[in-house]
């Protein structure tokens, strides 16, 4: 039967299109004309000519009520849109499976993006919680040759910068300290700062209670303290008469003069006590770089102008003090960037990865819609025939896409709410604290929701376009009903699957590179055995660092009380625990050797209690550990590590050799090397092993914070309480805190890499799953469409294997294309990971090969199920259906 509506529609092509109803009437009319002509004996061609003539010479403009509603005013457009929405909603309700898959897919993509964006917003975009934070800068001394290499300041240089730079409205200076807090309840060790009075004014933050320091209190001799909100709540129960109370800090009475607000993090969450800066004699050396500093720029002064003025002053100081400042300059950096050097590229890489995941989700949904539009070919053909214009059909399809996107966005917000909490947890467990910012405060807020809404709209537009593009091309769609557009649609879906595979490959390669980095890191021998080692930190007030210990019996007490606990195999203590980054360095002179001019022997300096090496599993290569012989009054002894031995006694036996701290002429005593131990990594698993170390017995050189390490027979967590109370009994006034395990410390040392790794891994898994679903969907569809062809092939004698090969090879063409394209993309994208990679190149062939292989296998696996279905095609049924 001839399609008279189409006949009429074709006539109006490129002109004002009559409404569906008018087309109906016109179609009936011309059909009657044609029929009458045929009945009167004319040929079909003649009758058609008559029918066609009926449509010629109409008026130039159709009356408004005869024109397709899409061409009418805004009210009609709104009505049509509403009708589309209702129609689309009805269609989606009618296909719950399709709708659920599409919405869940999008929810994953949009949710992951929202969650990562909420972190980016809180940590990178949110202004610092200080007054006018844009004007706050950190102040550094730097290498004049390479100003990117910054160091913290010495007090005299800070004072000169503070006074001399006119661009600074105010400056502040501080040094990290940890304090023994006692007097009210149990003694505890807390983190804090010595800080100048000007710092609080510079930040523009007022105390919640009481006051901050006065300029007079910057001078030594004022025992006053400001405490953090958390400490006030926790230790003092938030009592309102806290201001003016006296507490004991480092064994001395201090007056609490103020409490800072809960939002005040300066610089970290853990910083809860601030005492006056009180510069002393030791701080006065220009070479003594101990202080962090910041400045507020005057209103209207540019960053560059301030930098220029600071550079000029630094140059003048370099001329004035060539000894200390000759090679130095000074720089400023935005305070808001503080602590983000590593985090910013990490978060940007993650943003990139989630964007790819979302793109994959979009491609998947686009593919689903394409499949749907093919399946709905007949519906569209009918609608087109009864006068729906391409525009109307496109609007209809876009409406469906946008509804799916909106549902996906809403579900995505739910996903994001859950993910954001997990992300905050993960961030805290891996990266830890971020200066001035509250990692806990990461949350989904209005801006994040706006981002999600925008993203959902964008995704709807993106994946909605694909089936419309298919529709546009398919002018044959209307004519051919079921099968007309399948060829083009198939090509298009192949391209989409290829794209999806390529994107998934990029994400997975990113994850793969991070995994390989971590594997390489973990393969690094830390030089010690972290398993079953309990770590407890203890403060031992000690006025004279490196001097004889105030508590001479400390090591013995530890050995006795902790060593005697059942299940404790070995116990010792050290001043600076490996893998944590804690460090102290000394230069020394070697007996009988003259160093080349300008180069002194130097090494990192550690103080230990006997048993430390055994407890940590650090191999003793030569000689002995410290023991009872090495008393405070006994001759000085030292243990060195392999790197030190190789560097200063190459080819010699270092045992029995002597050196002293400082210059040869100094009065410090000679020390004899009594042992050599294996190298360890100090700053983390990515640190090299060539760090030179010198160990001294605590009995001869003391340090105010010692870390006790106990090797236990089983899970060290079970020994924590016993060990802590044993230590407590040594001296109830001494705070025992930070109980952890060496395994946890080793883990923490890889945190900055584990954060992106775990997330990239999760995103990679989602990407892979989506890609598999995508390939499966397309191949299934393809098999459905080619059922007839397959049936004929089977009828002609094709074997099951051949049918299977036909299906799988058809599926693998776009998959392999996607792998090739994604491989190229991955090499470039992996560069974003930059310093997050360890000992792995962005184009690592093993990772690329493995991931490519995984995706190829996934492609094969995804096409096997529809392939199986194809082999079961019964030729008789298929051919009969025709």
């Amino acid at each position: 039967m001839r399609d008279w509506r189409l006949f009429v529609r074709q006539h109006f092509q490129g002109r004002q299109v009559p409404s569906d109803q008018a087309i109906d009437e016109l179609a009936q009319h011309v059909e009657e004309i044609w029929r009458a002509a045929r009945d009167s004996g004319r040929s079909d061609a003649e009758a058609l000519d008559l029918a066609r003539a009926q449509l010629r010479n109409g008026p130039a403009r159709l009356p408004a009520n005869m024109v397709s509603e899409a061409r009418q005013g805004p009210a009609a457009v709104a009505l049509a849109a509403w009708r589309d929405v209702r129609h689309a909603a009805r269609l989606l309700r009618g296909r719950p499976g399709f709708t659920a898959v599409a919405v869940v897919t999008l929810a994953l993509g949009i949710g992951a993006n929202t969650a990562i964006f909420s972190v980016v917003r809180s940590l990178l975009l949110e202004p610092l919680p200080f007054t006018d934070p844009d004007r706050l800068v950190m102040l550094w001394e730097a290498d004049a040759q390479n100003p990117a290499r910054t160091t913290i300041l010495s007090a005299p240089n800070y004072q000169d910068f503070s006074k001399g730079v006119k661009a600074f409205e105010r400056t502040g200076v501080w040094e990290y300290e940890s304090f023994n807090f006692s007097g009210d309840g149990e003694a505890e060790r807390v983190q804090g700062l010595r800080v100048s009075s000007s710092t609080f004014q510079m930040l523009g933050v007022a105390p919640a209670l009481g006051r901050t320091f006065t300029p007079e209190e910057d001078a030594p001799g004022h025992d006053v303290a400001v405490i953090g909100y958390g400490l006030w709540q926790r230790r003092f129960g938030g009592r309102s008469d806290i201001v003016g109370r006296t507490t004991r800090i480092n064994g001395k009475p201090y007056e609490i003069i103020g409490v800072m607000p809960a939002s005040f993090r300066f610089p970290l969450d853990a910083t809860v006590v601030w005492t006056p800066i009180a510069f002393n004699e030791e701080d006065q050396g220009r070479n003594s770089h101990s202080f962090l500093a910041a400045a507020r720029l005057k209103q209207g002064i540019s960053f560059a102008a301030a930098q220029a003025e600071l550079t000029a002053l630094a140059r003048a100081l370099a001329r004035q003090y060539p000894e200390s400042n000759g090679k130095n300059t000074a720089t400023i950096t935005p305070m808001t960037d503080q602590g983000l050097q590593q985090l910013r590229p990490t978060l940007l890489a993650l943003m990139g990865a989630v964007a790819l995941v979302l793109a994959i989700a979009c491609v998947n949904v686009a593919n689903l819609l394409l499949a749907q539009s093919t399946a709905r070919g007949r519906e569209f053909a009918i609608r087109a025939a009864i006068g729906a214009s391409r525009g109307r059909l496109a609007a209809q399809m876009m409406t469906e896409a946008l509804i799916i996107a909106a549902l996906g966005g809403a579900a995505g917000v739910a996903v994001a709410l859950g993910c954001t909490r997990l992300l905050a947890e993960l961030l805290r467990g891996t990266i830890g604290a971020v200066p001035f910012r509250d990692v806990e405060a990461i949350h989904v807020d209005r801006l994040v929701l706006a981002f999600t809404a925008g993203l959902s709209l964008l995704t709807g537009l993106v994946f909605g376009l694909a089936p419309i593009a298919g529709l546009r091309r398919g002018s044959d769609l209307k004519a051919s009903g079921d099968r007309g557009t399948t060829g083009r649609m198939t090509v298009m879906r192949g391209v989409l699957v290829g794209t999806e595979v390529a994107l998934a490959l990029i994400v997975l390669v990113g994850a793969g590179l991070m995994v390989k980095s971590l594997v390489k890191l973990l393969r690094n021998d830390p030089g010690l055995d972290p398993s079953n080692v309990l770590v407890v930190t203890m403060s031992l007030p000690q006025p004279d660092f490196y001097g004889p210990p105030v508590r001479k019996t400390f090591c013995d007490a530890v050995t006795e009380r902790v060593g005697s606990l059942p299940g404790v195999r070995a116990v010792g203590a050290i001043s600076h625990l490996p893998l944590t980054g804690m460090n102290a360095g000394r230069s020394f002179s070697i007996e009988g050797k003259t160093p080349p001019p300008g180069e002194n022997a130097s090494a990192s300096y550690r103080l230990t209690c006997p048993g430390y090496f055994e407890a940590m599993g650090i191999r003793l290569l030569q000689g002995r550990d410290f023991d009872a012989r090495d008393a405070t009054e006994a001759p000085g002894v030292a243990i060195i590590n392999e790197a030190t031995a190789k560097r200063y006694w190459p080819g010699e036996d270092p045992i029995g050799k002597r050196f002293k701290l400082g210059r040869r002429e100094s009065p410090s005593p000679w020390m004899t090397v009594v042992g050599v131990v294996a190298n360890t990594r100090n700053f983390g698993l990515d640190d090299d092993t060539s760090r030179r170390l010198i160990f001294r017995p605590y009995s001869q050189s003391a340090w105010p914070v010692m870390t006790i390490v106990a090797k236990t027979a089983a899970d060290p967590a079970g020994f924590a309480t016993g060990v802590r109370s044993a230590l407590q009994r040594i001296d109830p006034d001494l705070p025992v805190n930070l109980t952890t395990t060496m395994t946890a410390i080793e883990r923490a040392s890889t945190g900055s890499r584990r954060f992106p790794l775990e997330l990239l891994g999760a995103f990679g898994a989602v990407a892979l799953a989506l890609a598999i679903v995508g390939v499966y969907g397309v191949v299934s569809c393809l098999v459905n469409q080619r059922t007839r062809e397959i049936g004929i092939r089977v009828a002609l004698g094709a074997r099951r294997g051949q049918v299977m090969a036909l299906v799988v090879s058809g599926a693998m063409r776009p998959v392999l294309g996607g792998i090739a394209a994604g491989g190229i993309g991955a090499v470039f994208a992996a560069r974003l990971l930059g310093t997050l990679l360890y000992d792995v190149q962005p184009g690592d062939p093993a990772v690329l090969g493995t991931i490519g292989g995984v995706l190829a296998l996934a492609g094969i696996a995804a096409s096997l199920v529809p392939g199986m279905r194809a082999t079961r095609v019964d030729p008789i049924t298929v051919l009969r259906a025709e």
């Binding site: 109803q21 004309i33 003539a53």
Partner: protein
């Protein structure tokens, strides 16, 4: 369409609305029927192609002279039937008297025979 004796387009245009209205005076009709009736009763002198008939019908409907609605009769395809509104009836009366006066004048002045 190759017919030799057809009405002058200007005359046809001026009279078209009256022709439609007069055909709908007694009963409602669908578009094809209207076109056929005009053609038959004018013995082929007046013909309306679909391309101009339907815009005319819709325009008249827009001016509330006629009203179209879909009617489904058993065993038949649904068709859109047009019927006259009161406004249409009044308009028909006015046109008729106008045309009568006009034709009367033509008869008197130009010596036309009354058809």
């Amino acid at each position: 369409m190759g017919r030799t004796s057809q009405a002058d387009p200007a005359l046809k245009k001026g009279s078209a609305e009256m022709l439609v209205l007069s055909l709908l005076e007694d009963r409602s009709r669908h578009g094809y029927e209207i076109a056929k009736l005009i053609e038959r009763r004018s013995e082929g002198i007046l013909t309306f192609h679909a391309a101009s008939l339907y815009p005319l019908l819709y325009r008249m409907e827009g001016r509330k002279l006629i009203k179209g609605r879909w009617v489904e009769k058993t065993g038949q395809r649904r068709k859109r039937y047009y019927s006259m509104t009161p406004a249409g009836r009044q308009a028909l009366a006015e046109r008729r008297s106008g045309w009568n006066a006009f034709i009367g004048a033509l008869v008197r002045v130009a010596g036309l025979r009354h058809a």
